[in-house]
Symmetry: C2
Subunit: 730 residues, 2 copies
């Protein structure tokens, strides 16, 4: 077991070596023309401006919480929990930084590659995404593995001390969650605020086309895609990854704990280290998977990505079998103090099945999500049809699709819970979450590929490249939409299972034997917990509106105060309706002079600050609610368990509902781009049904990009806070 | 105690005597002109057509279920449960019949009274509503009281047999729930289908004005208001009323049961009969309250209603004190087998406080609802403001308001649960539900007053009465909107507490000691339960669309196949833009001939059948889900408890969210009728912001009138089905 412990961080390092190698490869690719390079530089600069502003605020937050954690650490813990916290926050932030950096390099290089062919373009976009993926898993395994070695040597890893080691490591997960909150919620607010600001002042008030460099908010808008879909998604899944591993470690430690006296047959740390071992090997499997992703000219990028993803899943199943049967004893028994002292027989094969259940459930939930949001599928078609009678029926149809889409994913998750529990008790549920996330490296690679392709298309458009280039990036982008939908479903499913793993860990750590909802305070906790996602969603949607107002004011200020911009807008107004080459020479000169004069960074910073300011209230909600329930007279440990269950259940439902409604509305609107037939008549863009569909899409935007995905964080963060609080509650 | 038992039905009879007396009084009032009488007759005829069609289908359903219940009755039950079931269904149906009949008489008489003054008009409308209210509570107490006497004499009411008596009575609640499902869900689908059908074919296609007698669906539309807000609301609260009383009786029986050996100090049936006694006296209190409702000419109808409602609540508090301290012993102890044999000390004062908590919580939740949906209040104003930037922002704002509005009601309900449990254990929670509903008679009177005033205004409009008449009915109607909002909030809160009372009763009846959500199957049950309201809402919204299509086809058929209608439409088209008196004599004659030729009854029947057909799937969901969870391998009793908790929690949230979003959108739209200021500019009807607000209102319609209120039934029905199933589950 000693060897295993010390080998774990090596896998993390291998992941990071992959990151370095592939980043260098991406950087080496040609960026294309000067114009392309300029545009890309602005997006990259904006992305860095976002990170800079975000990390400045975060630093204060992280240091404050770390001091609080260090000071209040009790007997079962150690001030070192603050170190774990800082490290978790740092790793999450670093993963975001790496991902954003490579994504903003890969986008323009994908555009350039698309000038020669589809195959090379796919390669660049996917490898860009894989850097993000491996960065997340590499840092996760390296961080957790190293902390385990250090604290293990410090406190000892025998039955008496292992719980303390893991409690202190829990801070790592809390740190990751805090950054995730900022990245996902703040990022979600940011991206929609930029979107609205760019549209409303730029397009509507000033009359400049979409993605035009004159608009200071345009870059923020493009940055927003990276912020939400690269950094936000990455932080979200980094949190799930770390949370599920730690939750499983806590439950694994129970097998060797003195409280569970008859852990016959368990050899020491086996069950504790298993989740880390699975994650570690998952890095190698993910790297292998990346080599499967190849497409021939004229081939289908979707199948290339599928081969990578399903191929690595298949390898992971085989690898899991060998890892689990090698690490765990064939069977062991223990007296489950949580379940009233029931003697439970555990088997390595049971744990293996639980792992597979998680892995398969994640893929299935993703596919269901794709069905409910995919273009040309029945649900989206029904929204398209309802658009012919106006915006109201479009909205009702979309809400209906979103609500209906909760059914199968919830049944799948419910089935997974029961089956994984049958196979391996609470530990089985937790390991199912680990299984779902075991090949996260390649799953995230596929996710991050989406926004890179999306940006690549935008750059092609702005750089006025030939139509076939845009055709190729469109092909990549269309696949990106599918992978994004699948990724969102997967993120929710993994958040649900991670929250349940943390729920089990909380019970173990707090020493609660049951969470009985027939007790009034538990039922009250359940009700309040279930209410939080509703209030959180309302706050997030309101925040988008307020942040957008700040953005609008900044854009107006620049238009009024920067002479070059003012003059250029004047020129545009004067020459309305004419092509640029028909303008007078002086006008063309004035216009050229304005190029790059907009203060993109300032706009990005304003939007970032607004987003961070607006996310304080919803963020506080997530941290304060469990604290209040934990310490309010009449509530306490078990009521907090009720709160966790409530927020998990209602959060999963609201997340699926909002994400899928938003995704379906989006694709219903996109369906009009190629023309759709409703009752025998074909409708295109700018038709009345299309306008109705645009209303639906606008409603869906904050649903799918802000409030919906933020709920993933809410339910995990509340669970982590509860886990951190556990030793303190009477 | 014997005397008490036999006196209970007398209170029910007093309630029904009030019904007879007041119905006769309403019938004696003058209906006004012939035109008014004709219009009113059509609405009344339509309402009866609805009931006829509904009851025909219901009869088959009730008989089938009754046979099933009778055949499958086991040892703990009796085939007589089928009799209770039929009686419960009958009483609910009869209450609906009484309420609809008097409401469709009171509407036109209110209009006529408004010709002379406000005071008299309020009196007619309110007394009409009070007939509905007393009908519901009178039938509830009479039915339950009689069944208790009959079964008590049959089986005996000693500790050994009391549980059986109550189990058999449970069928009454199941019967009431079944009718409520049809009335609320079917009615909700019906009213919106008629609304859409009347609008789309009548107004848009044929070009006839709203509420015109030529439109066969117009009467259905007016009937719809009665169906939804009188019969639907009545059946909903009849279900809550009966369910909360029975739930409390089950828990009260535990105090004398042999399983709870040390029920020291409890004198026999006291705790079992207390809820019925409270309800019985509540009838008298409600009747007294009705005499407080008086308004002087020029006075405020709202304060008149408030005096009646709050006055009767105050009396009820005093009455409760005497009833409880007289019936219950000052204190008693019992060993609570459910809570692991804890010895619990109960006091009469504790039970009294629990009752008051329920009574007060109901009023407060209603007032909060009024705040979130009331015209001129901040939430509605925010939606109005967001209408200036289009339909999308209006929708987002409305969704945000609906979600945010869940917070305080949920905190209130959570607090009530904890406080009532502290005061009186599970019995305390159940008695809180009874307390909330104890003066239901007058609460329903105020609720039913709303649609009567609404109809009165419509009749004034259609009969072309002078403006001041419409002014008076508008004043009544405005108050009606407020009472409707409060009533909706109250209905949800009472559904929540009733479901919890039934939840406790289920646990006792099934003999489950705890519902531990850390068990995987319970968590799965919780997840699936929480998902049901989402799927149910989606189905209900989809059903509205489909039923509306059936209605549209029927209206088109009548326009094409009834010569008189066809000719009249032709005349209208020919004379477009001219007043009727400018038409040729022959045209006027043709037009007059068409009057009354539309087959309103057929239209109503078609719509009714469509509604009933469309509600089969959502209805089945409510009945099948608990059965499947109860008997699926790996699930069972405790998992079913999880399902109940999940559906209750998520159902309450979704009901508040949808009802309040819908109500707020409605009033945001109505704000434009008198003009609203947005950013310094005043907007009226037909302005762009008003059009955006109309979209929101249309989205809100099925939310607030179909899917939202239907969830009340869903959560109570699932709980009742579980309670009925309880003796059968291993």
């Amino acid at each position: 077991m000693e060897n295993l412990v010390y080998s774990l961080p090596i896998f993390g390092i291998i992941g990071l070596l992959y990151v370095a190698w592939r980043s260098a490869w991406v950087a080496k690719q040609d960026v294309g023309s000067q114009k392309m390079a300029d545009i890309a530089a602005r997006i990259a600069e904006g992305a860095m401006a976002f990170l800079k502003a975000e990390y400045r605020v975060l630093a204060i937050f992280v240091v404050s919480v770390a001091i609080l954690l260090g000071v209040s650490a009790g007997d079962n813990s150690s001030p070192l929990v603050a170190v774990s916290f800082v490290l978790g926050a740092f790793c999450s932030a670093l993963a975001g930084f790496i991902g954003m950096r490579v994504a903003t390099k890969a986008n323009v290089r994908t555009t350039n590659a698309a000038r020669t062919g589809l195959s090379k373009a796919l390669e660049v976009a996917f490898i860009g995404g894989s850097v993000m993926g491996m960065g997340v898993v590499g840092l996760g395994v390296l961080g957790l593995g190293t902390l385990f070695i250090v604290y293990g040597n410090l406190f000892g890893t025998d039955a008496q001390n292992i719980q303390k080691v893991i409690t202190v490591i829990t801070g790592f997960s809390f740190g990751a969650s805090s950054i995730a909150l900022f990245a996902r919620v703040g990022g979600g607010i940011y991206t929609k605020a930029a979107d609205v600001g760019a549209d409303l002042v730029g397009k509507v008030e000033a009359g400049i086309p979409e993605d035009h460099p004159l608009n200071p908010a345009t870059i923020a808008d493009n940055v927003g895609d990276n912020v939400g879909d690269v950094a936000g998604m990455g932080a979200d899944l980094f949190e799930s990854y770390v949370g599920s591993i730690i939750g499983t470690m806590v439950l694994g430690a129970a097998f060797m704990s003195a409280d569970f006296v008859q852990a016959d047959g368990m050899n020491g740390l086996s069950a504790v280290l298993l989740p880390l071992a699975l994650a570690a090997v998952g890095i190698i499997v993910s790297i292998i998977g990346t080599f499967f992703v190849k497409v021939k000219e004229g081939g289908n990028p979707q199948s290339a990505l599928n081969i990578g993803e399903f191929g690595s899943s298949a390898i992971m199943i085989v690898a899991s079998y060998f890892i689990i049967t090698n690490i765990l004893p064939e069977k062991w028994t223990f007296v489950d103090a949580l379940y009233g002292g029931v003697t439970r027989e555990m088997t390595a094969m049971g744990v293996f099945w639980a792992t597979i259940i998680g892995l398969v459930a994640g893929v299935l939930v993703g596919l269901i999500t794709e069905y409910y949001t995919g273009m040309g599928k029945t649900p989206v078609k029904s929204i398209v049809n309802q658009s012919s009678t106006g915006a109201a029926t479009n909205i009702i149809a979309g809400l209906g699709v979103g609500m209906m889409s909760t059914a199968i994913p919830v049944l799948l998750i419910a089935f997974s819970i029961v089956a994984a529990f049958e196979a391996g008790g609470l530990y089985g549920i937790a390991i199912a979450a680990v299984g779902m996330l075991s090949n996260l490296g390649i799953q995230l690679a596929v996710d991050a590929y989406g926004p890179i392709s999306d940006n690549a298309g935008g750059i092609a458009e702005m750089s006025e490249l030939p139509k076939e280039v845009r055709g190729r990036t469109d092909k990549l982008d269309a696949v990106g939409n599918t992978t994004a939908a699948i990724g969102k479903g997967f993120a929710i499913a993994s958040a649900a299972l991670t929250a349940l793993a943390l729920f089990g860990a909380y019970m173990t750590s707090a020493g609660v034997g049951s969470i009985d909802i027939s007790k009034a305070n538990v039922m009250a906790g359940l009700l309040i917990g279930a209410m939080l996602p509703f209030v959180f969603s309302a706050l997030a949607m309101g925040a988008v509106g307020k942040a957008a107002m700040d953005m609008i004011q900044e854009v107006r200020r620049q238009f009024n105060n920067i002479p070059a911009l003012k003059n250029a807008l004047e020129v545009m107004r004067r020459n309305e309706g004419k092509e640029e080459h028909e303008w007078s020479a002086q006008d063309q000169e004035t216009f050229r002079l304005a190029d790059g004069k907009a203060e993109y960074g300032k706009c990005v910073e304003i939007s970032t600050n607004a987003a961070i300011k607006q996310m304080v209230v919803p963020g506080m909600l997530a941290v304060v609610a469990p604290v209040v329930i934990a310490f309010l007279p009449g509530m306490g440990k078990e009521a907090l368990g009720g709160l966790l269950a409530g927020v998990t259940v209602s959060g999963v439902l609201m997340a699926i509902f909002q994400s899928n409604a938003g995704g379906a509305w989006d694709n219903a609107k996109k369906s009009f781009e190629e023309g759709v037939e409703i009752n025998g008549k074909v409708y295109y863009k700018k038709s009345d049904p299309h306008k109705a569909a645009v209303v639906g899409d606008t409603v869906g935007d904050p649903f799918k990009d802000t409030s919906g995905p933020s709920l993933n964080i809410l339910l995990k963060l509340i669970s982590v806070v509860a886990l951190v609080l556990a030793p303190f509650i009477r």
